[in-house]
């Protein structure tokens, strides 16, 4: 992982979008009341970098353009920061040319245990903007 630093140009009040995979990966869970919630798996990566997009710098249609079946959820940037994570810019040469792209990274001292709790908290507090395709109209 590159040496990441928190991007302070992204304010705490900014919204971060994360795509939620539909079947067969199914990064969502149906609850007893019939509603669905993103799985914490959507906020995990063993490389410790979870890609998101800054909402104010892109559009839903741009994010979902090539990923029509995906759902889309939103969390405030303050949430991962409150969970000992940073919101970092990426500027590696092989990066996609997308100025809204950021990665959520755990701080170095946060172990796997802490990351599980953080991923769960992000999943629980995420708001749906677009449901996964298989759940639309259900």
């Amino acid at each position: 992982m590159a040496n990441r630093v928190d991007d302070t140009s992204v304010g705490d009040q900014e919204l971060l979008w994360r795509r939620i995979l539909d079947r067969p990966m199914e990064w969502w869970t149906e609850r007893e009341d019939g509603s669905i919630r993103p799985s914490s798996a959507a906020f995990k990566d063993s490389a410790n970098e979870v890609s998101v997009n800054v909402a104010s710098q892109t559009t839903q249609s741009a994010i979902l353009k090539d990923y029509e079946p995906n759902g889309l959820v939103s969390i405030p940037a303050s949430l991962p920061r409150s969970l000992d994570h940073i919101v970092a810019a990426t500027n590696e040469p092989d990066d996609p040319d997308d100025p809204s792209h950021r990665v959520i990274c755990p701080s170095e001292h946060l172990g796997r245990k802490g990351r599980m709790k953080a991923a769960k908290a992000m999943a629980m507090q995420a708001s749906w903007l677009v449901l996964p395709q298989s759940r639309r109209g259900v």
């Binding site: 609850r31 799985s39 063993s46 599980m116």
Partner: protein
Amino acid sequence: MAPLDHMPTFTRQIASQWISVTSVMDEAASWSRSARERVQELARLEENWNTYGSPRISDSAVSETLQLLTDIARLGMPEPKIVPVSGGGLQLEWANGVSEIEIEIFPDKSIQYLLLDSQGEMLDGRIHRREDAAEFAPLTAWYLREIPSIEPLIRDYGKSC
């Protein structure tokens, strides 16, 4: 007349318990196959399956998860939801409206768990030896409501993880 009504009380109790045990085993056996098929389905995902550049689900995570499912079925747990994790791991999830358990199997075969109770209290930790069912027993007992509160787990078990 119910099937056990004609039996003497003691025999009826034993038979009832046996039916209960075999019922749990039957249920476990019935989901074991579909769960294993689900793991195999996820094992076939191609590189970049998450569209974020993830490698394939690792063979070690797959083999460890298959073993884990066998162990968990024996403990009377219902079928888990199985989802892939970016980077090559797998995750098992249970939720019953009151309690939630997640078990993540990493590509290096290490295993972490997370419990969430109805109050929002979370307990997380590491499974040290998958072969040791005693490590799972408190988690499953809590989920199956044989232990009423997450507190004893935090006090007696969580600290050691």
